[in-house]
């Protein structure tokens, strides 16, 4: 019996009932990696030996009759911008090719208390800048549903691993859609928590006012469990929220009766793929059938969200990435003096998209342009946030597509950066406002590529979007279908 195709909660129950061992499970997922990883390329590095030791330790605890935590002995993958003590963390960049973090991110410390099995570090767009994982300095990841397509990004490795069965669960990070969009493209569940819900300590910074770590999983049940593990205040991240963390598994109930769903007309854009629109509207119809109330709303500043995001995020990135100077860590390319050393290092070791965003950021922040670009964007950010505040006085959740299209072909958009940025229209506004959002599978395109429904919640109200997501998921069968590595075989 194969095990890689089952969600974590099913495997957890099997472990508790001693129907399987963690070593059997881990070996099965590793065999799956051997079978498909050449075609998918979800991992940047693998920690198989350590994984098997973790599995043995989990089995020993189970054998002793100890009560085990949810993720105990269950293999997962970690996006390579999350610091893992003693395990190379590259951010898919050449500048961190040999970087071994001397400490763990807070999420890793929290995870380790659960004793999961960590299979390795997942591929991504370099420094999380991109929506296709083609900006990885090492190799692109392929979509397990059609290996000629991108898995989305920047958490493309995490999403592809969960979809291909080469990880049961994964962590990703989301600055402008980097968890939700790959979840949509790969047919898995991905949640971006409220800004501050999960500590960013040890997450390699891209845009600090927008970044959040979150789970990518097979289904909503697993998502709630993983969120339980990673959420909460952390004194190492002064932007983390002190709000109490509810038990998110309490949201795993089928109940959307009377739920008020806002439908923002601005998210159903002109360039939207008709298959996406059809699937999302059908899903919303299903909510109606189940007793929810659908209300048309307007978020009028949505049209400005791309400009706002692509000025603020690169400005923050330009500042955050100043630390890669060839001095304290990371690669170094020598020069005659310190400035030449820094310039040589950064020019040789940063990829094209990273250079582009650093330059956009420095341009927007430079004397003479600061007010017109950066400050202007910060003010429009206020208006984007106000749109949501007003909408949430009338509705409980907002629903929209996660992305305007299903996964596109590798190479199709990489030559036109602006075209690629415009694909983020449905995801970036949430990051600007700090709101939580989940992407869940809601159908397939005519070419059988997954389509995601995005459910947006009020700040710190992950509980309601999880309940809505769970209710819909239970009414459908998407979670039972695994990616078949089409396109090539």
């Amino acid at each position: 019996m194969r095990l890689y195709d089952k969600p974590a909660h099913v495997l957890h129950d099997m472990l508790v009932k001693k129907e399987i061992t963690s070593v059997e499970l881990t070996k099965d997922v590793i065999s799956r990696i051997d079978e498909v990883e050449d075609d998918v390329k979800a991992y940047l590095s693998q920690t198989r030996d350590e994984a098997l030791k973790q599995a043995e330790a989990a089995d020993a605890r189970i054998a002793k009759g100890e009560e085990i935590s949810f993720l105990e002995g269950i293999p997962g993958a970690i996006k390579d911008n999350i610091c893992t003590k003693g395990i190379t963390t590259t951010c898919a960049s050449k500048i961190l090719e040999h970087f071994v973090p001397p400490y763990n991110a807070t999420v890793m410390e929290k995870l380790q208390k659960e004793h999961p099995v960590i299979l390795g570090k997942a591929n991504m767009d370099e420094f999380a800048m991109g929506g296709s994982t083609e900006n990885s300095a090492y190799y692109p990841t392929h979509n397990p549903w059609n290996t000629e397509c991108v898995p989305g990004g920047s958490s493309g490795g995490s999403a592809a691993a969960v979809a291909a069965g080469t990880a049961i669960w994964a962590l990703g990070s989301d600055t402008g859609g980097s968890i939700r969009q790959p979840a949509s493209f790969c047919g898995v569940v991905g949640l971006k928590p409220t800004y501050g819900r999960v500590s960013r300590y040890g997450l390699v910074a891209y845009a600090s006012s927008l970044d959040q770590i979150g789970p990518l999983t097979r289904d909503v049940t697993d998502c709630a469990h993983v969120l339980n593990v990673i959420a909460g205040l952390d004194e190492m991240d002064s932007t983390s929220s002190a709000a109490a963390v509810p038990d998110y598994t309490k949201s795993l109930v089928e109940d959307v009766k009377g739920l008020k769903i806002g439908l923002p007309k601005e998210y159903f854009t002109e360039g939207m793929d008709p298959d996406v629109e059809k699937a999302v509207r059908e899903a919303i119809g299903k909510f109606k059938e189940m007793g929810a109330e659908v209300i048309d709303i307007s978020l009028p500043h949505t049209d400005y969200a791309i400009s706002t995001y692509y000025l603020i995020a690169p400005a923050e990135a330009a500042t955050n990435l100043e630390r890669y100077d060839g001095v304290s860590y990371g690669e170094r390319v020598d020069g005659a003096d310190v400035v030449e050393l820094m310039t040589n290092t950064r020019s040789a070791k940063f990829g094209e998209e990273v250079k582009r965003r650093i330059m956009i950021g420095n341009y927007a922040l430079s004397a003479g342009y600061y007010d017109a670009y950066y400050l202007k964007a910060l003010k429009v950010r206020t208006l984007v946030q106000q749109d949501y505040t007003e909408a949430f006085q009338k509705v409980d959740v907002i629903m929209a597509p996660t992305a305007p299209t299903p996964a596109f072909k590798i190479g199709e958009m990489i030559a036109d950066p602006l075209q690629m940025y415009l694909q983020d229209i449905c995801t970036v506004p949430l990051n600007l406002a700090g709101l939580p959002g989940i992407s869940i599978p809601c159908g397939y395109s005519s070419k059988h590529m997954p389509i995601g429904l995005q459910i947006i919640g009020k700040a710190l109200d992950e509980a309601t979007i999880l309940r809505a997501a769970y209710t819909y998921e239970q009414s459908q069968n998407f979670r039972n279908e695994m990616a078949q590595l089409g396109g090539k075989n």
Partner: protein, 96 residues
């Protein structure tokens, strides 16, 4: 074209990047296209709108000022490209 070679040179220096001559045309074109697109923000009335730097209303987060273990020096230096006697090593910065 709004963006000139001079603009690119200036922003490259600010970014500590050197852009080879054969690539500068591409970057100028992309930067120009981007800046033209973000012009749409000009249409938004932001008179009397306060800027938002963080989405959550978090200010002045304090914690007790107590001594706690911190990263060991050897470990902190373990990723340094060049080090000597417990210090990071770089080319001479000051003239003699």
């Amino acid at each position: 074209m709004k963006v000139t070679q001079e603009d690119l040179d200036k922003v490259a220096v600010l970014s500590r990047l050197s852009i080879p001559a054969e690539e500068s045309g591409k970057y100028i074109g992309q930067l120009d296209k981007f800046l033209t697109y973000v012009e749409n923000l000009k249409a938004v009335d932001t008179e009397n709108v306060k800027p938002t730097t963080y989405a959550l209303p978090i200010q002045n987060v304090f914690r007790e000022d107590v001594v706690k273990p911190s990263l060991d020096r050897e470990l902190a230096l373990s990723n340094a490209p060049l080090k000597e006697d417990g210090y990071f090593k770089v080319p001479r910065v000051l003239e003699e």
